[in-house]
Amino acid sequence: MSEKKGEMGNQLKWRADACLKFILITGILIAVSFGFISCQKYQEQTFLKIGLPEEPRSLNLWLGTDANSRKILSLIYQPLYHRDPQTLEIIPWLARENPVFDKQALTYTVKLRKAKWSDGSDFTSQDVLFTKQLFFDFKIPRYYSKWKIIKKLEALDDHTIVFHLKKPSAIFMSRVMTAPIVSRKEWENVAREALTKEKPLRSLQSHSVEMPLGTGPFTLTEYKKGAYIHMQENQYFFGRGLKIGNSLLGPYVKDILFSIYGTSDVAILALKKGDIDFYWWDIQPGYIKDLKIQANIDVYFNKKSALYYLGFNLRKPPFDDKVLRQAIATVVDKDFILTRILQNFGTPMHSVVPSGNHFWHNPDVRKYGQGKDHDQRIKISYEMLTKAGYSWDIPPVDRDGKIVSPSDIRLPTGEKMEKFVILTPPADYDPKRAFTGIMIQEWLRELGLQAFARPMAFNSLLDTVKGKHEFDAFVLGYGKLNLDPDYLRAFFYSKNDKPRGWNMSGYHNPEFDRIADIQRTLIDREKRKEIILQMQEILLEDIPYLPLYNPHIIEAVFNERFKGWVAKVDGIGNMWSLCVVKPVE
């Protein structure tokens, strides 16, 4: 028996030796190969390497409307006019100069640059005409609703077009002129075929775009799904060497490589290691301390054109009462949210137009509870509610003026207010909004309001609030608002109070509707500004939404290889940056 065990022991030993040798030799071979790979890698030319959080949805312009597709497509397809990154004014881009407006005829005459598409063919008026026709034929979402104000589009010659409008439009420059123009050559046959299908738009969106034709600074060279996107400078880019806005345009980088990082943790490691030069995504404040101690990392903080707010359902009690909403607005401590939840990376928001949008922002709107401490806020809210007929068995402020734990609040009718729910996105989707909801719940309970913050899956939340209108209050936000404040009309116009409509609160104010309609037709910016400021005042008086905060957009770059990023509202990740960023000498 022991002999057999000894024999087995020897055999096992021999096998273990053989395995070890095999592993050693394989390991050496693999190590040599990987060493060789690394040498090859570093012999390659300098690429600007950018990390993306997700794969672009599609490189078909009509389907790729998500943030990541837009990052790629914004470098390819260009509009007639763009916003200057510093002044935020609308400036000529594919257009050569500002349009000539004929007030009587209601026409805008636009002269085009002598630009070329990335295949070397000429960009002409026909491309603009074709783009307009595409918007109309397919009723392309986002564009058709804005472009249908055009009565006729006329090409005077190859580089002059005239837009005939049905009526004056304040948003013509910001919404129509900033739409991307596509090449007739690229899309004509595709569109013709799609129009013969049962679902034309779907057919157009399903067209696979391998090599998009654009007029932008970069062209697509290769898209290897699940791995990378390779873009190269557009030899025919019209802006090369031109000074537009304050930027002397390049591009100065020959190649860009976009790669995907499934989590921010890994993307940050890649940035620190120098695997990527820029992570094109809003970084959470928790990473900042770690990044700031790295000499080869620059962290950028910029204002966002965003609105994060507490919304009320004005269609039913108790939030159909303006005084209650104002009392809630008073008790909500925005500075607390900013310091504790946003860790000071943002600004408290008082108006529904972000302060970064300085031309349209109204700094003089009513600011509830500003400069007051916790107890003062409760006292002011208590007074407001008492005056409006609300009552308590045990009020939140006792006879000596001390803050106490109150009983449930009673409505002016004498009935106890029912408990209500504040819907928020879940913490794994947006911890800021989820925790803000919990804080608001606590402040409201100090007034005797039985508030319950409830996180809800984002899809369900939108369906409940926007689709079914079955809610009491909610915390939501818009991360990227257009810089034109016409969205105020979309959010609060009474006709938009319908399922899937943007008036989620169910706000109805005839005076607001009236001036919202007027501002839409005002071409004079200063006159329009007066009305936009007035609209903000009305909204902050009526409080269908209580603006809460505007977080900073936080971005980081690896600074050893490239420099010259252009900071603007919404961050350094933009087309301007990629037009001017240069290799470090």
């Binding site: 057999k4 065990k5 087995m8 693999i30 190969s33 990987f34 060789f36 790979i37 090859q40 890698k41 390659e44 690429f47 390497k49 949805r57 599609s58 078909n60 979402p141 986002r142 609703s145 679902k199 738009l201 779907r202 969106q205 399903s206 067209h207 696979s208 060279t221 290769e222 290897k224 799904k225 699940g226 791995a227 390779h230 190649d255 490589l257 995907i260 990082y261 499934g262 989590t263 943790d265 890994v266 490691l269 890649a270 620190k272 290691k273 695997d275 899809n459 369900s460 939108l462 409940t464 689709g467 939501l476 818009y478 608002l481 257009n482 979309a490 959010f491 319908k498 399922p499 409509g501």
Partner: protein, 324 residues
């Protein structure tokens, strides 16, 4: 003959179950809150735009009509077009499935082979220090929290030491240049090692423990004592008499794990940025991309149903006592 009847009966059963799953999936997705458009939080989109999009996706029709269209398409081999990507679902799955099989099926096979081998040794040396070390290590592996362990691996082996890349399937700089097929193959292997190691370690524990416990129960059987009494060598007793019988429950587990491996692992794929089907499935569900999500689930259901059948057949082959 009886076996053939059994298999035929099983196949009919599979078809019925599959049809039930297909129907349940279709209605479950339609009943869940929201639709593919509801998540679009873009004030530029008017309610009319949204209605137009819904029409174009065919979601304006009654659900029963949508179901009939889906059924007709499915029977004719058309899985539909992804709402999100605008590409045929079949192409998306084909593309992603390859990467998932490469990583997850490989790791499952390797972990199963190593687990069976080590479990056998651990059981054979029951009570020894080797057994204790193996059992405790297997328990640790079995209970590891995947995201934590995957990030730890990336941090140590990818970031700190720089031996392996930080996720992805390839090095873009190499692929856009003029690199040879050998270099590209090695590059993919280089990217694969870290996720493979992670999955291997996590899967190994369960197979080792399963094999060990199965082997221990077999070692107490009379036929093992008989084999010893007959004077057979320890190696023959261990490998031919004990291990072969002990492997039966492990085969069921491996069979099902292999089937489920095509499901990938959303967390692992997310952390290692591996473009597999697990990540895609999560995206499809969260984006309400019905055609893609349904097709992914159906694929998993089909493979699991077939794997069950194969395991049943394999059982009969490995254990002559089992007859259907």
């Amino acid at each position: 003959m009886r076996n053939q009847i059994y298999i035929f009966g099983k196949l009919i059963e599979i078809v019925i179950i599959f049809f039930v799953i297909l129907t349940a999936l279709f209605f479950l997705f339609r009943l869940s809150p929201g639709d593919p458009i509801s998540k679009m939080v873009d004030p530029m989109l008017t309610p009319e735009d949204m209605r137009h999009l819904i029409e174009q996706l065919g979601l304006d029709k009654p659900v029963w009509e949508q179901y009939l269209i889906y059924l007709k398409n499915f029977i004719t081999g058309n899985l539909g077009v992804s709402f999100h990507y605008g590409e045929p679902v079949f192409d998306i799955i084909k593309e992603r499935l390859g990467w998932t099989i490469l990583l997850f099926t490989t790791s499952t096979i390797l972990a199963a082979l190593a687990g069976v081998y080590l479990g056998k040794i651990a059981a054979w040396n029951k009570g020894s220090r080797l057994d204790n070390v193996m059992s405790i290590s297997a328990l640790v592996c079995y209970t590891l929290f995947i995201p934590w362990f995957a990030l730890l691996m990336l941090w140590i082996l990818g970031f700190k030491t720089g031996i392996f890349p930080l996720g992805g399937i390839l090095t873009p700089e190499l692929w856009v240049g003029k690199s040879s097929v050998f270099i590209r193959t090695m590059d993919v292997i280089h990217h694969m090692i870290l996720p493979l190691m992670t999955l291997f370690v996590i899967n190994l524990g369960s197979y080792l423990l399963l094999m060990r416990s199965s082997m221990l129960s077999v070692l107490r059987e009379d036929y093992i004592i008989t084999a010893r009494a007959k004077g057979l060598s320890e190696k023959v007793i261990r490998n031919k008499h004990a291990a072969k019988n002990a492997a039966l429950p492990v085969i069921t587990s491996v069979g099902l794990s292999l089937a489920f491996s095509i499901n990938g692992g959303a967390l692992t794929e997310q952390i290692f940025t591996w473009p597999g089907i697990g990540r895609e499935l999560i995206f499809a569900v969260s984006n309400n991309d019905y055609p893609l999500a349904q097709a992914c689930f159906l694929l998993i259901a089909l493979v699991v149903l077939l794997a069950n059948l194969i395991v049943d057949i394999l059982y009969a082959y490995l254990d002559p006592r089992i007859r259907y």
